[in-house]
């Protein structure tokens, strides 16, 4: 995570030079005590919505924990739990003392499709690969090979179609 984190910080500094003020977060949170949703989940969902709607962009900072806590009068651990959840979903990266920054946005893919794809990967091919005793490096190597192979295949298909057309 560290190189990506530093990239995010570098990016945030670059953006800072151009236009946006990233020393402050562009968003804030509100709480609905009657929603029945746990507080940390409300923060996770409000962040995801902000990412989808473009209020938060790559390199942007999430609100500082102490600012969220001072605004909403909630336990700091609740904010940290929400940020950890967003980190595990791959949207942000955080480092103590520096801040939490946006790494990626769910643009281009709807969250439900993302969840479905991740689920089918986890339950299908990945668990098969694990049961064969493959470690992370081997799995990554196979996936990289497959990704490299994919465009070549498509090219072959196109050429064949091209030939048929010709």
């Amino acid at each position: 995570m560290t190189p990506t984190l530093w990239y995010a910080i570098y990016l945030s500094m670059e953006i800072d030079k151009v236009s946006r003020d990233v020393s402050e977060s562009p968003i804030s949170f509100i709480l609905d005590g009657n929603s029945g949703q746990p507080t940390y989940m409300q923060i996770v969902q409000q962040t995801e919505n902000a990412l989808r709607l473009g209020h938060l962009q790559i390199g942007d900072r999430l609100p500082r924990v102490k600012d969220v806590v001072a605004g909403l009068a909630i336990n700091p651990n609740t904010v940290l739990k929400a940020y950890r959840e967003l980190e595990s979903r791959g949207y942000v990266a955080g480092k103590q003392g520096i801040g939490t920054f946006v790494l990626s946005t769910p643009a281009g893919i709807e969250l439900k499709h993302y969840v479905q794809l991740q689920k089918s990967l986890n339950e299908g091919w990945l668990s098969e690969a694990r049961s064969c005793g493959l470690d992370n490096e081997s799995i990554l190597a196979i996936i990289q090979n497959a990704l490299l192979a994919q465009p070549i295949n498509r090219e072959k298909v196109q050429t064949r179609q091209d030939r048929e057309l010709a």
Binding site: A70, N75, P76
Partner: protein, 292 residues
């Protein structure tokens, strides 16, 4: 390390027992102290602050220190129900008095906090609003730079905005330091927001004493007939709903699979606490179980 350890701690007033418990509380948490009026919450906090002596048994702070010791006087700050300020003094004079009473007191911390809140140092305490009085009390407590903060229903008399701002100040301190907090209140929504540990006292005895995450993950609302729910093994029935043929019963079970054949949902912290309070009232003085 434990913040507070109570062994066979008993307190009686005029022969009436108001507290009788064994209890240990961890450091580094915001602990919600909950219970009906007369449950012994204030008594426990007063003993922990060294203001009241127990009738028998012992209470230690930070593993081994007596509440009244100099060590604890400087490490533990107490904000009482009847906010302990003197009406006729100015805020500046209150700061001075507190400085004389506490060795570890840093007057500049108090002055800075109070100035940041926009409260005039020359104002008399009786001219302050309820919210300002609570904030001044909190500032005086935090000026000791304490390791633990004991709050005895600090927001009971405050309007919603003042209460929100008071809790926000406490949470900000929690975010910036490693302070441990024990916070008693009747407002379940406040407690659910700010706490990560719950201690439930009823009739002077301990009903719940664990992380809120544990409480939430081990309790279930089960919708069934009374006879069906009574037939389940290995599940503690905390509260039975007898108002309907098929009612919502509150159950404690570490193992969700035991409840597979039922319609279940997750209760809120407030529902769980209310269930324990109803249970302890109906069982009167019988202890109903402690979640480890």
């Amino acid at each position: 390390m434990n913040l507070l350890t109570a062994q066979n701690l008993k307190k009686s007033y005029k022969g009436k027992e108001v507290l009788n418990c064994n209890l240990s509380l961890p450091v580094g948490k915001v602990i919600a102290l909950v219970g009906p009026n007369g449950a012994g919450k204030s008594t426990l906090l007063n003993i922990a602050a060294g203001l009241v002596a127990p009738t028998s048994g012992s209470l230690k702070m930070f593993n081994s220190f007596d509440p009244g010791s100099d060590e604890i006087r400087s490490r533990v700050a107490f904000v009482a129900q009847d906010v302990s300020l003197h009406d006729s003094l100015t805020v500046a004079e209150m700061i001075k008095v507190s400085g004389c009473l506490n060795r570890s007191f840093t007057a500049d911390i108090a002055r800075q906090r109070i100035a940041d809140l926009g409260i005039g140092l020359k104002k008399k305490v009786k001219e302050l609003s309820g919210g300002q009085r609570a904030q001044v009390s909190l500032s005086l407590a935090l000026a000791k730079n304490p390791d633990a903060l004991l709050l005895d229903e600090p927001t009971a008399a405050l309007d919603p905005l003042a209460s929100h701002e008071f809790l926000a100040s406490v949470m900000q301190t929690v975010a910036e330091t490693e302070i441990s907090v024990i916070f008693s209140s009747h407002s379940m929504s406040d407690l659910a927001r700010v706490s990560d540990f719950v201690t439930l006292l009823a009739h002077g005895q301990l009903q719940l004493n664990t992380d809120i995450d544990n409480v939430l993950s081990s309790h279930w609302l089960v919708r069934s007939t009374v006879s069906d729910i009574n037939a389940v093994d290995d599940a503690d029935i905390i509260d039975i709903d007898t108002n309907a043929v098929v009612g919502f019963h509150l159950i404690r079970s570490e193992d969700e699979s035991k409840l597979r054949s039922f319609e279940i949902s997750k209760p809120s912290l407030e529902q769980i606490v209310l269930a324990y309070l109803r249970n302890s009232r109906s069982h009167d003085l019988k202890q109903v179980g402690e979640v480890k």
